[in-house]
């Protein structure tokens, strides 16, 4: 689906990323984890074609170099949910969600677009907010509006699509954190791919197929959760002691800190 080799990125003489290799297959849910400043968001931005670097030629999306795609075409194959969403948009919620359908219509939304945006709003539980002013919503609700927008953008006939999510769980309550992760998982079950920056290691262990643990711009460990999440690796990455055990009910890997 997407692969990149030797991805490096410098910002004002500081190395943010150093020679990172990633290869994410179709239907995979990859969680990027790591301490603050490890370069998680930078890696996501580069893969999502947000930063202009010479790396573009080294990143292959659907076997074509990112620099060979045009922006319009790309928008029907991949979408990105950003960490900092605009707080001031003087529009109704449904108009904000409908922006996700902009790649599909010229001036007026078609019936397909209405169906897709309603489906996405149902998915993130904002359908009942659709006639509200976006600016009147709480932080978590705004977050869910943008999640709906991003998911509606990839509701198309294309075989496999790719979604990037940068800390999608910020501001969300427990129920919506789980609902969102389930939404991502059902998205990947349909042969789509998700690359998600997460902070909660336990949720990453529970939902992700693959985990990429970063530290200071390099990959510390990359593989399935049970391989990456060992007490030794985590303590090394975060500089904080932890214990690994099994969840008493569902037997998932559980990480306890302190």
């Amino acid at each position: 689906m997407i692969r990149g080799q030797y991805i490096s990125y410098k910002h004002q003489e500081t190395d943010i990323l150093k020679d990172i290799d990633v290869n994410v297959g179709t239907g995979q849910f990859l969680a990027i984890v790591g301490p603050n400043g490890a370069g998680k968001s930078s890696l996501l931005n580069i893969l999502a074609n947000e930063i202009k670097t010479e790396n573009k030629e080294k990143i292959f999306f659907k076997n074509r170099s990112l620099s060979d795609w045009n922006i319009g075409e790309l928008s029907q194959h991949k979408a990105k949910f950003s960490q900092h969403n605009a707080q001031d948009i003087p529009l109704l919620v449904k108009d904000v969600v409908m922006m996700g359908r902009y790649p599909y219509f010229e001036s007026q939304p078609k019936p397909d677009d209405h169906i897709a945006s309603e489906k996405a709003m149902t998915g993130t539980d904002v359908l009942n907010l659709q006639k509200r002013e976006y600016n009147s919503l709480s932080g978590g609700e705004k977050q869910r509006v943008h999640l709906a927008r991003v998911f509606s953008q990839l509701d198309n006939k294309s075989e496999n699509t790719l979604i990037f999510l940068d800390e999608p769980l910020n501001n969300l309550d427990i129920k919506h954190q789980h609902k969102t992760l389930e939404l991502i998982r059902s998205f990947t079950k349909n042969n789509n791919t998700a690359i998600v920056v997460l902070h909660d290691l336990n949720l990453a262990a529970q939902f992700a197929d693959q985990v990429l643990l970063m530290e200071k711009g390099t990959v510390l460990s990359y593989g399935p959760p049970e391989k990456v999440f060992t007490a030794e690796t985590i303590s090394k990455a975060y500089g904080f002691p932890c214990t690994i055990c099994k969840h008493p009910v569902n037997n998932n890997t559980m990480i306890l800190f302190g």
């Binding site: 947000e50 922006i71 790309l74 979408a79 969403n85 003087p90 108009d95 922006m99 007026q108």
Partner: protein
């Protein structure tokens, strides 16, 4: 339920009918008295090519009144659309040609062309010489625009304070240079310069109207379909790009086209301030910030506003007339303050 596309068409048709009625009404308002026949009878005679029409009547109804009404419609429309587009690009309702110094930039170079133009005119090709003031106004607007954008925007985010302050700086440079030019200029040039500074549609001619129509047509073909793109800009430039919008190209188009529109309007009618602020402000009450609505509608409401203002300006102190810039600034100033108060908290 009326769908959104139908309601946009509905609003466009209703406001167009309203504009036509206003143009019709404005035809009958004016200082000249046609005696026994009404203005409409004279206009009908003109259309049917009636030989009984005297040259002076013909001149008044066609060369003065009709051409002035048409010019108000064209200039008003372009000023409003340029304001709306700028606000979309800067993502702020305070961005208008006056606030960010675009108008001053255009006025400044137009003034230089008027006063000093004769010194280098002979080196220029014929076509440039004839439209020297217009071209200078366009270049002035473009330079001001680029300067303000470079100063106030970094990494896709506009700093509102920087945007307004760089506008203040450009305006003050423009003010001092224009002041100096007024000081050194001859009598005839002085009259022209005063005309720029206050703004007036009294200089309307059909030649100007044809040029304005061409500029309007070219600009609208590019700009009016950008409603969706300007909406997406509210998400931030990067997110707009993820939605398939070529943000760099869009911004270049907006910079050039708004400079072209403002420059042409300033060249022909001087500084008519705040149309680009008032019209979107009113439309936002009705349609929020949905540019899909307010962009095409501002093209019509701009005409309505300027035509109304011009008709008032030529009747209120008849037989003399009030410079129209005084009127639009009188409405625009308080609205600017109203928006400022609303933004007080976010500006801090």
């Amino acid at each position: 339920m009326i769908s959104k596309s139908q309601s946009l068409t509905f609003y466009i048709i209703v406001s167009l009918i309203f504009l036509l009625l206003m143009m019709f009404g404005a035809l009958n308002i004016g200082v000249f008295d046609f005696g026994s026949s009404s203005s409409y009878q004279v206009f009908a005679k003109l259309l049917s090519g009636d030989p009984s029409l005297s040259t002076s009547e013909r001149y008044i109804i066609w060369e003065i009144r009709t051409s002035r009404i048409v010019m108000a419609v064209l200039v008003g429309s372009m000023l409003a659309v340029s304001g709306t587009t700028l606000q979309g690009m800067f993502k702020n309702p305070l961005a208008t040609g006056e606030a960010i110094g675009l108008t001053s930039g255009a006025t400044l170079l137009a003034a230089i062309a008027i006063v000093l133009g004769h010194t280098f005119e002979s080196y220029l090709p014929e076509i440039v010489r004839n439209s020297l003031v217009g071209i200078s106004a366009f270049i002035g607007a473009l330079l001001a625009m680029i300067t303000v954008y470079r100063i106030s925007t970094s990494a896709g985010k506009t700093n509102v304070v920087m945007m307004l302050l760089s506008g203040v700086a450009i305006t003050s440079i423009g003010f001092s240079v224009t002041g100096f030019l007024i000081y050194i200029s001859k009598d005839e040039q002085l009259r022209d310069l005063t005309f720029w500074n206050l703004g007036s549609l009294a200089g309307a001619t059909w030649t100007k109207n044809i040029i304005l129509s061409i500029v309007l047509l070219l600009s609208y073909i590019v700009i009016l379909p950008k409603g969706k793109a300007l909406n997406a800009m509210m998400l931030g430039e990067k997110d707009a790009e993820h939605l398939g919008i070529n943000v760099e190209k869009l911004k270049k188009q907006i910079v050039i086209i708004t400079a072209l529109m403002v420059g042409t309007c300033v060249a022909f009618s001087g500084t008519i301030g705040f149309v680009g602020l008032i019209v979107p402000y009113i439309l936002r009450f009705l349609f929020r910030s949905d540019y899909h609505f307010i962009l095409p509608l501002s093209a019509i409401f701009g005409s309505i506003l300027l035509l109304a203002a011009d008709t008032i300006s030529r009747t209120v102190v008849a037989p003399s007339e009030l410079p129209i810039g005084i009127l639009t600034s009188l409405i625009g100033g308080p609205i600017f303050i109203a928006i400022l108060i609303k933004f007080k908290n976010t500006l801090r």
